[in-house]
Symmetry: C2
Subunit: 341 residues, 2 copies
């Protein structure tokens, strides 16, 4: 049998091989259609090419391909308040109902008053008391049931949509693009690990074991019938902010990321740690500079600091100095949400 | 073109498809050749079939297929002393050399004396002091370099082989069999997470992010030149023994295992937690009852308790009561080590 390109066998073989290895053949179109052309998009594409092309001097073996993403303000909207904080405030009435003695104790009294000005002035200490009361002291299953109910029903005040729809389409594309190239994508968040694990799989395609977050201890015990269960304890195991991010990455993953994405000073150490590794490393920061389509905030824009993640001038200067790429929502993102045209 | 089985094209297609999908075609032979036929082997094979066959009422989706393994005494030899403890004792002279003031301080003085009887009598408190001094207070990189040197050169006293060769072939087969059926295999060990991560990939095919162990904190900081690094701190984050095992699984994986393997009271809660889940769950305990080929120890055999993992009569009774499967090394394992015939 002679082989030449016109032989029907060659066609059949091509079809069979195409079926078997099709995924690789198809992935030629633009993987980041919601991004405008520019240095940010270019940096992502170049990073993936350089680290995943066989024979590239900066090739990264698949097992080591780790990319970490901050969540609030990086993967979804954080302004004017982290959604988990909204959840905790929403849970206060139920907690006070279960423990009526709290009704006259601060900060619960203020929260129950509904006085927005007074609530906005609550201290970090007050906030921790609210987090502890609403997130701990219950079984893991009870927590999941409560959080699920809220996630299904709560709506954000601006877009009137479930919080889980407020994710950034361009970042969803980055997650998928990295995964299509053998990267495992992790969330590394200051938010509660248990809370984010509730929806990360459905919303981002990130399974629970790839969510690293601020974690309270879970205590093992037994019901009256001897059935084992875990209780969420008000004991902070990992504060996954600032230096806690690389520390949490080391604890939970044990590998240094090749790419890291953040949007505030709380992500600084994660980006430093990522960039300090050998070979090609990518560090990116989302700048919220689009007041019309999303929000504009932070000192780097000459705007006031907010309760949520802060992009300071110092962070901006460090990014420029150390080769981190700043993503401008306004100019780098063609489209921000799936629900907007 | 007419299709029939003798047409050369059919043969070519079969070869091409065989190349593309070959792995699935081959996996028909006995996946557990080092196991004797019996209830233990049967339980493993049945568990895999029931949970991975499409349409089975107890089918487990691939993403949820988690199996957890204790290490010492379950995946490799733990008697007469955990290899990591041997490592820590071996490191004491270097620690004392670096800090000569320790030479006259207990328990370092006793360890340096070389008096085996006195060393054997050291308390748990003494042991913790030795662990803290030899495993913490150094950069993560320095720890790795030291541990690697030891792993490469140390030999166990009985078989005169690197400790990493003392793994049980039948358990290696279980790891591979489960992975071939879509399970992700985790080590959940009372041993040091950092230590086990050093070799788990090479020895068991288990990557660092799938090793959950007793963990000390790592503290983020900078060198004089501003380069970030992590220091191992003498602060216990997770004591991954007893109740700490399900607690660690919840923290690090966030899913309940479908199968769990252990060999001592330290694994009891992990097995309870595993079996308490819905659907088909597998809980197994290795019983060290083979004095000739390995060791025989533990109260369940009427033998004295030892420093290493303890298989008590109560654990044995609980296993029988709750449907956990006890693996007899003597009768269930045809061959224990790769280096033995």
């Amino acid at each position: 049998m002679k082989w030449n390109a016109r032989h029907p066998l060659v066609f059949v073989l091509a079809v069979v091989l195409g079926l078997a290895f099709g995924t690789q053949v198809v992935a030629q179109s633009d993987p980041l259609p919601s991004w405008n052309e520019g240095p940010a998009k270019e940096a992502i594409v170049k990073f993936v090419e350089v680290t995943t092309t066989q024979g590239s001097p900066k090739f990264v073996p698949p097992a080591e391909r780790i990319a970490t993403f901050d969540q609030d303000g990086t993967l979804w909207v954080e302004h004017p308040m982290y959604s988990q904080i909204v959840y905790c405030f929403d849970r206060v009435p139920a907690v006070v109902k279960a423990k009526p003695e709290l009704a006259n104790v601060e900060p619960f009294k203020t929260v129950m008053s509904g006085n927005r000005e007074a609530i906005a002035k609550l201290s970090m200490d007050d906030l921790f008391k609210i987090l502890a009361a609403t997130l701990t002291g219950m079984s893991v299953e009870d927590f999941k049931a409560e959080a699920k109910k809220w996630l299904d029903t709560a709506r954000d005040p601006r877009w009137k949509r479930p919080y889980t729809e407020l994710t950034y389409l361009p970042m969803q594309e980055v997650l998928k693009y990295l995964r299509a190239n053998g990267y495992r994508t992790y969330i590394v968040t200051g938010g509660g690990q248990d809370f984010v694990r509730m929806y990360a799989d459905e919303v981002y395609g990130i399974p629970p074991e790839q969510v690293v977050g601020t974690a309270s201890g879970a205590k093992y015990g037994y019901t009256k019938n001897g059935k084992p269960f875990l209780t969420k304890e008000p004991k902070l195991l990992l504060n996954d902010n600032n230096a806690g991010k690389p520390e949490g990455i080391y604890l939970m993953i044990g590998r240094r990321p090749y790419a890291a994405f953040g949007n505030s000073t709380g992500d600084r150490q994660m980006l430093e740690y990522t960039k300090a590794g050998a070979g090609e490393r990518l560090a990116m920061l989302v700048l919220h500079d689009d007041a019309q389509r999303e929000y504009a905030y932070g000192p780097a824009l000459g705007l006031s600091a907010t309760r949520v993640g802060t992009f300071t001038q110092a962070l901006y200067d460090q990014a420029k100095r150390e080769g981190w790429v700043v993503i401008s929502m306004k100019s780098d993102w063609k489209r921000i949400f799936t629900f907007e045209p």
